[in-house]
């Protein structure tokens, strides 16, 4: 049953990625096709997650592969909030190929079968893993928006003759969305980290490298918001800073299977 939901989701995400790529060359129907691919894939993956939770009767995404599965769903969910607008379809080109690839990795690692085996409580996992992954999904999307900002800015600086041939969100809109997405992601990460710290304090367990990397991520995004709202950092500098923060998110993701959860 899980396979019957996983493969449609993977195929739909892959189809969306291809359609968004085609849309950059022949704008129009392919973009709409890509958007429908995202919607169908997301629906199928949502059903897969529900099935996993029902089967496991507990929080089933406590393995690195399971967390990756949930992370992909959160990223696509965040993208769906406004990514379906015609002008934002180009962002799908940055979001959907990694989403499809990561979902495949999650499947290969057994993250779509839904057999959680953590010793932690469901409440702790839901709050800590769920919130941290939600924050990382927001930061991933902010990174995608930042890449789009830098690419669009480069086209404007180069005065490309064909700049109007592809509909892309304006620089101001992209910059604003990067700021807002991080402004939502950082408090979420803060609460997620606080839950983790509370458990560490209660159990008296030690601090590992992943926890430190997560704290570094938190610091980077805190600096981002402080500079943005305190010093008026906008545009190119803000986009580069958001990407720096995202490098830290990638490091945490890579460290996850090695250091933290089974």
């Amino acid at each position: 049953m899980a396979e019957a939901l996983f493969f449609p989701a993977l195929i739909a995400y892959g189809q969306a990625a291809l359609a968004f790529f085609g849309n950059t060359r022949h704008p129009g129907r392919l973009g709409a096709l890509g958007t429908w691919g995202v919607r169908l894939g997301w629906t199928s993956q949502s059903a897969l997650l529900v099935l996993q939770a029902v089967r496991a009767q507990r929080f089933p995404w406590d393995t690195w592969a399971g967390a990756l599965n949930l992370f992909v769903w959160l990223v696509v969910s965040a993208y769906l909030i406004w990514g379906c607008k015609a002008r934002y379809r180009v962002l799908g080109l940055l979001v959907m190929p990694p989403a499809a690839a990561l979902l495949l990795v999650a499947w290969a690692g057994g993250g779509t079968t839904g057999r959680g085996r953590s010793r932690y409580s469901d409440l702790f996992l839901a709050l800590h893993v769920g919130l941290v992954l939600a924050a990382f999904a927001a930061f991933t999307l902010a990174a995608g928006l930042s890449v789009l900002y830098l690419w669009q800015e480069r086209r404007l600086k180069r005065r490309e003759a064909g700049i109007l041939s592809l509909r892309v969100p304006s620089l101001v809109a992209l910059d604003r969305l990067v700021g807002r997405t991080i402004a939502i992601g950082l408090p979420t990460l803060t609460v997620g980290i606080a839950v983790g710290v509370a458990r560490v304090v209660r159990e008296g367990s030690g601090v590992d490298a992943l926890m430190l990397a997560t704290l570094v991520t938190w610091c980077l995004y805190t600096v981002f918001l402080a500079l943005r709202f305190g010093r008026g950092w906008r545009g190119r500098r803000a986009a580069l800073l958001a990407l720096t923060g995202f490098v830290s998110v990638i490091l945490v993701h890579l460290a996850l299977p090695l250091t933290h959860v089974s």
């Binding site: 003759a161 041939s165 969100p169 304006s170 620089l171």
Partner: protein, 423 residues
Amino acid sequence: MTVVLTGISHHRAPLALRELVAVPPEGARELAQRLAADGEAVCLSTCNRTELYLAHDDAALAEARAVRALAQLAGLSEAELTSFCYRLHDHAAALHLFRVSAGLDSMVPGEAEILGQVRTAYEVGAAGRVLARLFGQALRSGKRVRSQTAIGENPASVSSVAAALVEQVFDDLRGSRVLLIGAGKAGQLTARSLAARGATIGLVASRKVERARSLARRFGGEGVALADIEEVLGAVDVVVSATSSPGILLSKDQVERVLDARKGRPLFLIDIAVPRDLDPAIHELDGCYLYNIDDLRSVVEASLASRRREAVKGEALVAEEAERFRAWHASLEVVPAIASLRARGEEIRRGELAKAQGRLGELSDSERRAVESVTAQIVNKLLHLPTVRMKEAAAAADGPLYVDTVRDLFGLGDDGSPRRIER
């Protein structure tokens, strides 16, 4: 009925002649009614063309009337007008109108205004069955080309490209403030294009402050002296410059000095002056985007090239629509023959039933209905295939041949009425 198109357009006629034959909507109504005395007529008049569409049984007569009407408008003799005129019939006329309504015949491919002009011409015209179908399909073709191709998506003039570029930086121009430097027409045109998208022309700068104030009042803004540009630069989002100044009016250093006060807000500068008013090095500053007239023209060229590529797709769509119209128009030729064939069959059926009445004796109502139904079905089944074949033949241009054959085989009159058969 033949569709006849007689017209004058930018392809052959100079502007001076097109001006003479241009007809306002009210004049188009009168002209169409006059020309549609015993047929149908629609007059389509735009800045690039004046075209008369007539549907008439006598194509030569309709064409002569149309040429005479155009000659009268131009104040020329019919012979003088001939070299500027084009005349098209039926399928070719339909294809032309569909191309026109899709913007494929326009100077700028895909221009949007033409569809509304075709609609107005149709509404004020004297269209009957044929022209109503032709213009209805033309409007549909125009919309289809616009929705199924990207022909109208990219702007095609310097001022609209400038506005579209500003929108690449600022999401919504509502709330954006524009500084217009210079009181020339080119600058005003660009500023108006920005204002049409919601921007506010907040400041106008000119060498003569009084002139700046006078122009600013028209836009609802303030006038400032050229020397004060730097002071107001922190409060604007877009700068449009188009003066005849021989040197640079705004340097990189001046812009750099106000960047801190802008707190990262981007600044878009449009320099359409030759020689340039704005220091090209401004473009190197973070958050500043400077486009001069050559940059804008290269974007216009790319937009036009993209429109031309899309026009190829549009041509295929209008050809399809024109073919559909041709099939419908050709089917009109066989409709009277089909109607008389059916009437002939019904006449025979009723005659034979009347003759058999005596032999059938007293029939109950249900028996009578059954006999009626069976005989009607026999006639229908017999005539079904000839009817279908005639319609197909009409679409394939063999219609008249089939009509003659059917008339001859079934003894139908030339006027479509059943001919008495000698026994």
